[in-house]
Subunit: 420 residues, 2 copies
């Protein structure tokens, strides 16, 4: 992408009501636009990051046998009444509206009920199980407050997966496989080291649920953890009973502010019983399906990555989800030869599938460098008069500032054919 | 994809209130699930079709210089009040709700206003123009009636693009380029021959707008067209003035029911003036931007394709958007050797990037063939005892029933390395 064509520009100002670090950086760099509190549009650079996070997640969900589908935003009242989750006194984040054709309609803040209802069409026998489905859905939640930038939105993208099994054994196997898959997602985003599988409150069906909590001061949760023992406990369930059960003492635990980047729930057979979703076992008896649900906040993950990987100059994207791997910056000073040379390199990169943002703008070097730091691509390659004269390209790693001087051959070796 | 793992199954029954041909077929084949009238979920096979239509459209929008972004479902009241389009008396398809934090919020049925508003952050000078942006957005419209299956939904996916130019000349060049891009999209979906660029009512800013209308009895529009002269007129503007202007007589025109698969609008400077979106020209004067908007109904296109390409046995997907190019059907009759052989072919196809649905289910041949016809992949390849004995694969073209008998080498030659 030629930067001269990119319609977004870096900005110095952010909306006055925007107090979140991640949103401030993302707005200043032109990744997102704030529509209203907790509601953000994703601009060309931002949508590239989102799609890369989605693709990593998709690959890992497919690897455990997930089948992708997409449910709807509009929700039928009857389905949610059946499980007693329509009433605002039970669920306080509903957006609701009136259908012109008559009756109320809700907007999807979750999709357990409609997916369970839909499955009645496809599951009748034990032979139809197990089934694992997932979607990337825009969830709408009528949150009273929304002050964490893209980390907690009234409108946000979530990957939600649902498992349908005959019984506990199959469920547990998939549940464990999904825990591993989640950790692989976080590893590919570079946050696995600071992400803990955390014991949290279990809700109606089990004593505990598992949350995936990532250390960040921007988080809204508090977790007590022990790295060596690989144990983490959400403060909401930190009590003597939990400590005894997990075989750890309070003294061994360290406190941290964290953001929940994923959660998984074991519903047992209760949820399916509420929904009326059963299968016939081998003896022909109708039994409620053993269900689980598994969420990853896709837009939240993007926010967490920005919170964790940024410095006073701007964002520092991990290679796996950077919108472009390389920021090619030409300092031609109107020298046509340098321009042609940079252009040639840009074309070579593109032809070889390297994702490259090419700063071909007619602005000062200082502005280009400042923008480059703010935008945060993993590698900056500078093409200048000096490059031509010395036959070496300056390559700067955004993460640590390391500077390399590479010949064209070394440059090709490093970047071309790279899978980005 | 192994069909034994696909959770969807073909069905004989459809919801009693589902009268639309496209939705009936898509529900029976397991591509979509009806959530409520005009609201459909897209199941694993369906989402593959949708994504292929999106990718074709994306490629063509990128080719004319479009930059992809994604706006939000939630809409600010103030933005729409400014252009007098918030009130239900002006726009009758709004879904609206109350924010817990106070105030009303709308759900995006269109995105001209918020995109124009957002652009104020990025466009200030003639040097920032032109800009072309597009998104694939889930639109929510509170339609009184929704009886055309996925062709007219209360919730549907639209590609909407917006152009921002300094003046008419640039606008017209882009407008014409987009008309060509649209026709390329329809060509790649196999419906260009029956799709007409149609004169329709122009709305507030121009005498005519252009619609793209595809002949289908399931359509809700009526168009008068002449293939030789390549002229088509929506009945809403069919009058003496229009006929004179276009140099054609009523007798030369043929009538057809059509579905609108795209539309493009020239707003002139009026829309930007309403929004308050201006640029400074070379003399420093503030001038409203010349805007255009360009829509393609993505989910509607899928419905139109089903309406046009289906027979009494089921759907007949064009190769470009079929969920899988090949339906590999094994008739092993529990013969392990045949099964292994089919399995090997499935793996070879997968390894070479051929999209293949593999019917490895333990059901009757007749059921497999019926399902295969209903699902509608372009090619069915049968692996049976006969295949092994004679060294020939039966390959059936879904579109015309033509049967080929190919050796393994010929099969590889035909399908492997094919870009699907």
């Amino acid at each position: 992408m030629k930067q001269s064509r990119l319609f977004t520009k870096t900005r110095k100002e952010v909306p006055a009501d925007e107090t979140s670090h991640n949103a401030q950086l993302l707005i200043r760099a032109g990744y997102v636009h704030k529509e209203m509190a907790g509601v953000y549009a994703y601009l060309p650079l931002g949508i590239r990051v989102l799609e890369k996070i989605k693709e990593i997640t998709r690959q890992e969900m497919n690897a455990v046998g997930g089948q992708e589908l997409i449910m709807t935003a509009l929700q039928r009242k009857e389905i949610w009444e059946r499980t007693n989750r329509w009433d605002d006194s039970m669920v306080d984040v509903w957006f609701k509206s009136e259908l012109k054709a008559g009756g109320e309609v809700g907007f999807g803040w979750s999709h357990e009920e409609p997916i369970g209802e839909m499955m009645k069409n496809y599951i009748s026998s034990y032979k139809d199980l197990p089934v694992y489905v997932y979607q990337f859905q825009t969830k709408l939640r009528n949150e009273l407050r929304a002050k964490s930038g893209i980390m907690r939105g009234r409108e946000f993208v979530m990957k939600d997966m649902y498992s349908f099994c005959v019984g506990e054994e199959d469920h547990t196997a998939f549940y464990n496989a999904t825990m591993d898959a989640y950790m692989r997602v976080y590893a590919r985003l570079g946050i696995a080291e600071d992400t803990f599988i955390t014991f949290a409150s279990g809700g109606a069906f089990t004593q505990f649920s598992h949350e995936f909590q990532t250390i960040t001061d921007a988080g809204e949760d508090v977790v007590y953890f022990n790295r060596e023992k690989n144990i983490a406990i959400n403060e909401e369930v930190l009590n003597d009973e939990t400590l005894t059960k997990l075989g750890i003492t309070r003294d061994e635990l360290q406190m941290a502010k964290t953001a929940e980047v994923g959660n998984i729930f074991n519903f047992g057979r209760q949820k399916a019983e509420d929904i009326g979703l059963t299968f016939k076992d081998e003896s022909g008896e109708n039994i409620p399906i053993w269900m689980g649900s598994y969420g990853i906040g896709i837009t939240r993950l993007m926010g967490v990555v920005v919170e964790k990987f940024s410095d006073d100059k701007g964002i520092v994207w991990p290679e796996s989800i950077a919108p472009y791997q390389v920021h090619l910056v030409e300092l031609s000073g109107d020298n046509e030869e340098i321009k042609d040379f940079a252009n040639g390199l840009y074309n070579t990169f593109n032809d070889n599938g390297v994702h490259v943002l090419y700063d071909d703008r007619d602005v000062r070097a200082g502005e280009k460098f400042n923008d480059s730091d703010l935008l945060g691509m993993p590698y900056r390659i500078v093409v200048s008069k000096k490059t031509k004269e010395e036959g070496k390209f300056e390559v700067v790693e955004r993460a640590n500032g390391t500077v390399h001087y590479l010949t064209e051959e070394e440059l090709h070796h490093k970047f071309l054919g790279a899978n980005s």
